[in-house]
Amino acid sequence: MTETTDLDVREGVDRETVETVQNMGSYKYGWDTEIEMDYAPKGLNEDIVRLISEKNNEPEWMTEWRLEAFRRWQTMTEPKWAMLNYPEIDFQDQYYYARPKSMEEKPKSLDEVDPKLLATYEKLGIPLKEQMILAGVEGADEAPAEGRKVAVDAVFDSVSVGTTFKDELAKAGVIFCSISEAIREHPELVKKYLGSVVPQSDNFFATLNSAVFSDGSFVYVPPGVRCPMELSTYFRINAENTGQFERTLIIADKGSYVSYLEGCTAPQRDTNQLHAAVVELVILEDAEVKYSTVQNWFPGDEEGKGGIYNFVTKRADCREARAKVMWTQVETGSAITWKYPSCILRGDESQGEFYSIAIANNFQQADTGTKMIHLGKNTRSRIVSKGISAGKAQNTYRGLVTMHPKATNSRNYTQCDSLLIGDQCGAHTVPYIEVKNTSSRVEHEATTSKVDDDQLFYCRSRGMDEEEAVALVVNGFCREVLQALPMEFAMEAQSLVAISLEGSVG
C-alpha cells in the first residue's frame, strides 16, 4: 500500500506540470497591484538609512548597526568577477524604501490588512488566511495534517504584511515573525546572531543590504523542538524602481529541526529592478535546517528587456557538532542571478548539502553555485547542480570546496550537470577546490549535454507536444534536485521548469 501512495503522489506531481504548461502564459505573475505607496526619496545617504530604521521603530543600536554598514559600503566597489554582463547600476537612482500606505499603522491581525494586498497574495496562490489553510486540512482526512500546514510570512515590497499560524507556533516555542518585529520583540536574539554568519562587511551587496534592509523573516527554534509545520516566506516586489532588500535570520538551537521555504515573484516591467537579500542560518549542535527556494522573479522579456537583478548572499553556519543544513534552490527567474548559498562546516561531523536547478532562457544570465567550507573534522558535503540553458542565455556554475588543515577525514562529492537547449546558449562550470590536509577526499563530476532530438521525437510519437516533451525531459534531468524539495514545492518547481522553457524549442 505504501508503494501505491508513493506512486500516486509522484504521478500527481507530473500531471501538474503538463497541465500548467498548457494553461499558463509565459510569466504568470507579471501583473502589478495598484496600491498607494509611501516612498522614501530616491537615492541613498545616511538620512535614508536613518529613515528606514525610524520607519521600523528600531532601537538605537540597530540604527547604529545600519549606519556602520552604510559607511563601510561607501568604501566598497561592486564585484565584477562573475560571468555577468549588465549595464552599470546607479545606486542613487533607486528607491530604498516603499511600503503600502495602508501599512503605515501596522495591522494587528490579518483582518486589518488592506484587502488589495490580500487579493494580491491570493492571486499568487499563497494562502494567507489561516482559515483557508485549515479548511483545506480538515477536508483532507487521510492526509497527514502536519505535512500540509505551512506557516507563511509575506513580504510586499519592503514590509512584511502578515505572518500566519503564529499562535500555534508559539505553543511549540517557535518564534516566526518579520525581522522588524524580532528587532523590537527579541532584541537579545537578534543582537547575538544578526551579522554573525554574514558580517556587515562581507561583500558589496550584503553590506548594502545591512544598511538598508527593510524587512524579512526571523525564525528561532528552541532546543529539542521539531518545528510542527513548514515555514514559508513569500517575497513580492511591486513598486517600480524599488530595490528590495530583505533579510532573513534563522536560528536552529541544539537538537532542533526546521524546514523553510522561500518563494519570489515580481511584476513584469521594462526597467530592471534591484534585489539584494541576505539570508543567515545559524545551526547549533545536532540541529538541522532545510532551506528551499523557488526563485521566479521576472526574468525580462524575450528581447532581454527588464527583469530583476538578483544579488543574494545566503550562508549557513553549522556552528556546532553534527549540525546539518540542506540548501535546495530552483532558480528560474531574474535577468541576472548572482547567488552562492554556502555552508560553513565548523562543527565536527557537520554536514552541508546543496541541490540546485538553475534555468536561464532568452537573455537571462545566471552565475550561481555554492561554497562548502570544511573547518571541522569528519565533515561531509554534497553538491548536485543542474544548469539548463536555452535561448541566448548564459549559465555558470561557480563553486568552492575547501578543506582546511583541521578538517581531517572530511569528504565532498560534487556533481555538476549542464543541459543545453538550442545552439546559441552557453554553459560554464568553474569549480574551485582547495584541500589543505591529506586525509580528506573531494570528488567532482561534471557533464554537459544537449536535449536530444531522439528523446523529443520519442515523446512526441507517443502524443506529447513539443513543449510537454521538453518539460518532461528537463524535469527528468533535474529529478535528483526536485526530489530534495518538499512535496508542495516540488509541484510548483516542476511547473516552473516547464513554464520557463516555453518557446525554447522549435
Partner: protein
Amino acid sequence: MLKIDNLHVKLEEEDKQILKGLSLEVPAGQVHAIMGPNGSGKSTLSYVLSGRDGYEVTDGDATLDGESLLEMEPEERAAAGLFLAFQYPVEIPGVGNMTFLRTAVNAQRKARGQDELSSGEFLKIVRAKAKDLQIDAEMLKRPVNVGFSGGEKKRNEILQMAMLEPRMCIMDETDSGLDVDAMRLVSEGVNALRDAGRSFLVITHYQRLLNHIKPDVVHIMSNGRIVKSGGPELALEVEENGYGDLLAEAG
C-alpha cells in the same frame, strides 16, 4: 486504414532517395508484414510515417482513414491513432516509466477531447496490462528504458502500445534482440490487441516472428519499393531461399 501511395522520400541533409514510389494498403483489422534486405528503406518508412525529422517527401502521400499523415506533427499522428514500436527505444533518464506512460496517455486523451484518467484509474489499467507482459512494479518505476535489457525495452514498447490503444500499429524490427521467451511474450501481447478495428504493419527480417504473429499479407521490399506481395507463404519462401530469387524475379 493505412494507405501509402507512390511515396517518394529523400534524406533532408543529402541528396539520397530512400523510398522510390512505395505503395501499400493495410485494411482495418489486418496484419501486414514487410520483409526485405538491409538498406531497402524499411526503417525509413516507419520514421516517415510517424513524422521524424530529417526526411523530405518529394512525391506521393500516406493517409490514415483518408487523412494525410504527412502534414501532421508527430503528436497529431499519435492522437489520430498511429503508433510506432521503435527498433531502438530511446532512454529518458530521470523520467519514471509510469510518469511517461501517463503523460502520453493523457496527452492523447486531451487531444481527442476526452477526460484525463485519474491516477487511480490509470494505475489499475497499467498494472493489469503490465502483468500480461510480465513487467513488474519495479520496471514501471525505473526511468524510461534506462538500463533495460533488449527484451525489457521491447516489452515496454508493447506496453505503451497496449496503453495507448492505437488503431494503426507499426512495429519496426520488434523481434531483433529478443530471445525465445521474450518473443513469445511480445507476440502474445500483440495478438491480444488484434481486433477488427486495429491494423498492424510488422517490419521484420525473419519469418520467426510471423510464426507467432500470423500476417494476412506479406510484402517484400527492396530498393525503396514493394516488389512483391502475397500470403504468409511468401515469408516462408524468403526463409528458405533468401531474397535472391524473389528480387531477380521482380527484376
